[in-house]
Each structure stands twice: as C-alpha cells, then as structure tokens.
C-alpha cells in the first residue's frame, strides 16, 4: 500500500536520510530501528507528509503522497507522535473526537452516529472511556498516551504511524498497546509503521524490521535476519548477545555490560558441608548452572546448592514448595538455590577434585540403586516415579559455552551408565544391566571465569575430567551404598 522509493531528505543541505526504499505490505507491522540520530523520525515525518523529500518518491495506494490533501491523507493515515503538547483543558472525549475531523464534512460538520461509534470504540479499546470527562491535563503520561492513541484510532486509518509508542508506558500497558495494535491489523485491516527503541519489543511484535544507521538502510527483513549479533553490535556500538525467545521464534537481544563479574575463587571440595540432613555448597558468586533439580532447575545463575536427605516414605503434594521452604529455613534464598532430594544417606556422598593444568572440577555424587532401571526396557514397567537416587553434581572452574554445558551433561550421563555397568547393577524387574535409576538428577555448574571451554565431549580436556570423575565417584558411591545395605 505504501511505496517508499529511494527517499532522501534532511535539513538544509545536510541529508539525514539517504536512499531508503521499502514497500509496505497490507496489514503488516514494520518496525523502524536505529541509534539516536539515524534518521528514524525524519523518515517518519517524510512519510506523514510533514517533511519535504530531497530525493526519491513516496506513493500511497498508487498515488504520490503529494496528490493527497491533508484531509484525504488523514482519513487514510494517522500518526501518534512521541511528544504531546497541550495548553488547554480539553476533556478526554473532546480530544478523541478531534480524530473525526477528517471524516466530517461541510461547515457545520454534523456529528453522525458513525462518528460517535468510532470515538466510543477507540476509547473502549484503549481503556480511556472510564475517564472520558476528565481533563487530559489531569492524566498521567501513560494515560495521555492512550488518549492520543484513541484519537489516532478514531481516525479509522488504514495506516498508523507511531513514534516510540511505548515511551511513557509501564510494562503492562506496553503489552496491552502492542497487543491491541497487533489485533487491529487483523480486525481493522490496519497496517502499522512504528519507531522502536527497544529491540526486543520490536522483534516480538514486528513482521519486518528496517534498521537504519546514519540514514542508510542496514537491514530490511524479518527480525531474525536483522537482529543478528554482528549487525547490532556494529550499528549500536555495544556488546550484545542474541538468544531465542522462550515462546516465539523471535530473537532477543541482551546487553553485555562492560563491568565484569568479580574474580571467582576456585571451587574446592573442602568448601562442601556434609551432614546427615544434606550436602550443601555455597559459592562466593552465583554460578551458571544447568540442572534437573527440584528447585532452580534449567539454566540459570545460582549460589546455593543442596542435596537434601528425605525419608524413604517421603511424600509431599508440593515438593517444590517444600524444597523452597527448606532452603529459606536454612538461610539460602530459594530463588538462588538449586535443590535436589534423595532417600540415600547423604553422609555417604563422594566428593572429589580433578585437575588438568589450570582446569579443575569438583564432583559430588550420592547414589542408591534400589530402583535401578534399564532404560532400553523401561517401557515395560508401570511404576510411579520415586525420589532421585543418583544425584550427581559437576562444578567446573572454567568458562563454558552453551554447547559445552550440554556436552558436559552427556558426558556425565555416559560415565554414570558405565559406572553402573562396572558395578553390575541390575534392573530387578528385567534382570538386565541397569543404566541408571528412575529419577536421577544431574547438575553442571560453572564459575564462568578462568579457562574458556568451547566443547566438553568425551575426548576434550574437560570431558576427560568429567568422564573419569563421574565414573569413579559413582562407582565409589554405589560401593558405599551396598556397604551400608549389608551392615543394616
């Protein structure tokens, strides 16, 4: 519908926008991004007919923009500016009603049913109807922003131009406003061009992004193609990291600040506390950890690590809550804690340190093989899960990549299987060699300082340490378990 062709423009001799071209698709949301001074607002003003072009052409629905009168254009195109000035006490309703200006005809400009309907709908959609008779001067910045959005929507535009629409809004209204716009693209055949400062918000809501740098197009494509680490770092001159959004196939950008983390002390096996109730370790600084624990599972940063003994007949409806309470009772902030449970006597934990040059790891394993399982035949059994019995911890004094974390988990698991085979642990039901127990848990945590580890497969330096360490510790833990069984 909108065709921007090799457009340039600026102030005086100095061009701020150079040769920008794009074709707007019906009902899409196009985000315009760029650092301060990259020409976003100037481009927007040229599209809205406020600023002259020094080169190129803009056409809307096949006709040059200059063919439209202000009124004709306002029927098709509405603008929500970044800043609003207002000198008088207009009520919210009066303000929103001005959006009908381009639709009213003749000297007396009669107020029709259609006008009334558009105004009320815009006020309902933006949630400002409840204060329609209040003066806009009494409103907060966010409320005012919604009133002006309602004014723009009352114009019933086909194209909506927004300049940082979420500027004064808190998180919930940001989401509401953008969800509303997304909704209007389908329900009202609305097409949107919006300037964004927040790359992540733009990535989530825009179909396409136009990234400007010094007035020139750097990228015009889907968020995934535009928001690449190297492009963003070059344009914004900032260190960033990109990762996937947890729910949508959209990239999210994280700033990497210059202030580093404090130097991390090496983790030593002496720092672990063992009692009848739990095995516990508290790190000086949070560790990056990947685990399948009861609390603090998944990928995150944690300081406290606890493997708690619970009785054989432990049953709790909400073991998560129970584990959190346990952590809090001991003075470990539960949101900072990775917590596991086991019915095994945790005093029998095997904790050992392994070194290779400047790389070192600490491994802690508690094992019980009472409900050992052969994973290849597990489909034959119908049994409820019991509490984890082989809980393995791997602490690494090093800086791991994401892939190293995953390979560490794999390597540790393989070594555990080998230890069970070595001890000839059998699945009591199938009478075949067991590969683990039904609810084993694994934690890999690293200081993220010290030597960098890209990979940790079985034959890498770290892989070798983990393989050997988990095998030895697990084997030793199983021996202790059997020893205790016999002596009982």
């Amino acid at each position: 519908m909108l065709n921007v062709k090799e457009v340039s423009g600026g102030y005086g001799e100095h061009n701020v926008v150079h040769d920008v071209s794009f074709q707007l698709q019906q009902q899409e949301i196009l985000g315009i991004l760029g650092p301060n001074g990259s020409g976003k607002t100037t481009l927007m003003k040229m599209i809205s007919g406020l600023h002259p072009l020094s080169g190129g052409a803009i056409s809307f629905k096949g006709r040059p923009l200059s063919d439209y009168s202000s009124k004709q254009l306002a029927k098709e195109m509405a603008v929500l500016p970044q800043l609003h000035s207002h000198a008088f006490d207009y009520t919210v309703r009066e303000t929103v009603s001005m959006g009908r200006y381009p639709h009213q005809k003749g000297m007396f400009a009669l107020w029709t049913e259609k006008d009334e309907k558009a105004v009320v709908e815009a006020m309902v959609q933006t949630g400002v109807l409840s204060f329609e008779h209040q003066s806009i001067q009494e409103l907060s910045g966010g409320e005012r922003q919604r009133v002006f959005l309602a004014q723009a929507l009352a114009q019933e535009p086909k194209l909506l131009l927004l300049d940082e629409p979420t500027n004064h809004l808190d998180l919930s209204y940001q989401k509401q406003l953008l969800d509303l716009l997304k909704d209007w693209t389908t329900t009202h055949q609305l097409t949107v061009i919006s300037i964004f400062h927040d790359l992540n918000v733009a990535s989530l809501y825009c179909d396409r992004l136009l990234l400007l740098h010094e007035g020139k197009t750097v990228g015009l494509s889907s968020p995934g193609d535009v928001l690449k680490k190297d492009i963003v770092e070059r344009v914004y001159q900032a260190r960033v990291h990109t990762q996937a959004h947890p729910e949508l196939p959209k990239p999210q950008i994280t700033l990497l600040p210059n202030h580093g983390r404090h130097k991390q002390d090496l983790i030593r096996k002496e720092q672990f506390h063992v009692s009848a109730a739990h095995v516990h370790f508290t790190a000086e600084q949070p560790l990056k950890s990947l685990s399948s624990a009861v609390i603090g599972a998944g990928l995150g940063w944690h300081r406290h690590f606890v493997n708690r003994h619970v009785p054989m007949d432990y049953s709790c409806d909400d073991s998560y809550r129970d584990m959190c309470d346990y952590a809090d009772q001991h003075g470990w902030n539960s949101s900072d804690t990775v917590g596991m449970m086991t019915a095994v006597m945790v005093e029998d934990v095997v904790i050992r340190e392994y070194h290779d040059d400047d790389l070192s790891i600490v491994i802690a394993v508690t094992a019980g093989v009472g409900n050992a399982v052969d994973v290849s035949l597990a489909h034959k059994r119908k049994q409820k899960e019991a509490i984890g019995t082989i809980n393995s911890w791997v602490f690494i004094n090093g800086k791991l990549s994401d892939e190293a974390f995953i390979q560490a988990m794999m390597t540790a698991t393989e070594a555990k299987v080998k230890a069970l085979q070595h001890a000839k642990v059998k699945d009591p039901i199938t009478d075949t060699l067991a590969t683990g127990t039904s609810t084993d848990s694994l934690l890999v945590a690293s200081t993220q300082s010290g030597p960098f580890v890209q990979y940790s497969g079985t034959v890498t330096a770290l892989g070798k340490l983990i393989g050997r360490g988990i095998f030895e510790c697990t084997a030793s833990a199983i021996e202790s378990y059997w020893h205790r069984k016999k002596s009982q």
Partner: protein, 351 residues
Amino acid sequence: MQKPSTRTYSANRIWFGYLLSSIFLFVAFCLAITLGSVQVPLKEMLQIFWGTLFGTHGETNEMMKTIVIDIRFPRVVLAALVGASLAIAGASFQGLLKNPLADPYTLGVSSGASVGAVMTIFLGFTIPGLGNFTLPVVSILAALLTLIAVLGFARFVERSMKMETIILTGIIFSSFLGSILSLMIALTGEELRQIISWLLGSVSMRGWEYIRLIAPFFILGSFLLMWNARELNAMAFGEERAHHLGVNVQVRKYFVLASGSMLTGAAVAVSGTIGFVGLVVPHMVRMAWGADHRHVLPLSVLNGASLLILCDLVARTIVAPTELPIGVITALLGAPVFGLILIRQRRERRG
C-alpha cells in the same frame, strides 16, 4: 457503552452557558443605559427604545431620549463590539499559538494597530477610495504586520516558540512601538493629554460613525474565526498534530492570523488600546465551559461585550464627573488574571 446522562449533562451545561451569557449581556446593557450622571428608570428606557423603534411619540422626556439614544446607546454598542472583537481575537490567538497568555495586547498587536491608527489620525491622510475606512484598514494592516513580525522574531529566537518567548517578544515589540508612538506624538506637537487618553482606550463620544467603522470587520472576522473553530481545536495540540488530524495548517493559520488582526485593528482604530480583554474573557469562559473553541469563540463574544460594557460603566461613573480611560479598568482586572494564569501554567508544568 454510552452514558447518555453525562453527555446530556455536558451539552446542557454549554446551553446553560449561552443562556447565562446572554442574560449577563442584557443586564450589562440595561445597567449601562440606565446608570450615569442622569439616572434613567428602566421603564423609561424601554419606552424610549419602543418609541424610537416604532416611531410612536409617547410621553417620553426629550432630554432622556437624547441621553439614551444619542449618547449612551451608541457608546454601549461600541463598547460591546470592541469587547467582543478583542475577546474573540484573544481566544483565537491562544488556540492558534497553544498559549493561554496570548492576546492582542500581550502579543504587541494592539500597539502595532495603535501606530497605524495614530499615523492616520494625526497625519490625517486618507487612502483614495477608502474614505473613513482608511483608519481601520491602516490599523488592521499595521496589526497584521506587527503580528507577523512578532511571530517571525519569536520563531527566530526559538524554533519551538515557547509560551514565554512569544510573550517576551510581544513585550519587546510593545515597548518599541510605544516609543515610536511617543516620538510621533512629540513630533506632531499635539496636545499630549488627549492622545494619551486615547491610547489608554475609550469608547466615549464616538457615536454611530465609529460603530459603522468597526461593525463590518467584526462580522467578517468573527465569522471567519468561528468557521475555523474545529481547526483551532486541532491546532491547540500543535501544528504537527493538526496536520496529522487532516487540517490544512498553512491556510487555516493565515485565516486565523488575518481574522484576529482584523478584529484587533478595527477595535484599536475606534477605541485605542484596551488591554487584557482578550486574556480575561476566554480564560473565564474556558474555566466555566471547557476548552472547545466551537463554544469558546461565541461565548467569548457575548462575555467580551458584557465585560467591556461594564468596564466602561465603571470608568465613567466611579470618579464622576471625571471619566477614567477604560483601559485603566481592564488592566486593573486583567493584570492579576494574567499573573494567575502564569502561576497555573507553571504549576502544571512542574506537575
């Protein structure tokens, strides 16, 4: 989900505003006709008007008839037209510049018009073909030129044209034009007292001739402004916003500026510089009945007329038999209101 009750309520409030303003105007009119050095009873006044209208010669007192018809009536009508012109001009300048402190006086437009008027009166020239209308036409042109100069200068000082910048520019131009006036007066060697009393504004002893001078400009100017009321509403949110709402800003802006100058110039030409009417009246109207220019403009006309009629009444009765210049009374009223608006604006901005 509409709320008809509140909607009717606000619509009723506006109509109540028109009713109240009309009553106020009628009362002001009656007071101004009846009160003075010679008291004319209300009944007598009505009889005189009745008689003059329908040519019936009742038992009316000839002296009273002269006072009412030849002296007070034209004076009151002139005061009403001047007040109405200044008030609606003020209201439109405020909307256009989104500046509640703007009015013909604070913008320096009145001073500009005075220079034009003084030039015409004391140099005594006429533009061929215009005759008597030379005076208002020159005043109007001077007003328009001044307004363009003030706004151009303010924009030159600061592109965003903050409220204070415009007012300061207006004051600079006022002082400058005031000095030119003084200079002209000194050079013409006329009697100073008379000129100064004209400068402070007066509607006395002008007669029907002056009403004929201002009336066409008042009608045309008010009509043009009311025609642009919705555009003024949009422009009160800034020119960019108005453009996005579909207003042809360049054309409408010049309509408003020209109409405002026309009203100011014509008013100054017949009555001298009467300050603050354009500030006080729209401000009161907005406080009472909201900021919608479709109502602010006509209500300002009604109340501007009433206010100036009353001010004139006070001016000629308070220290009778001496007459005070009417500008003294409006300034006594207007300057504190100016201060109040400034305080309010400041507070709100600090928020």
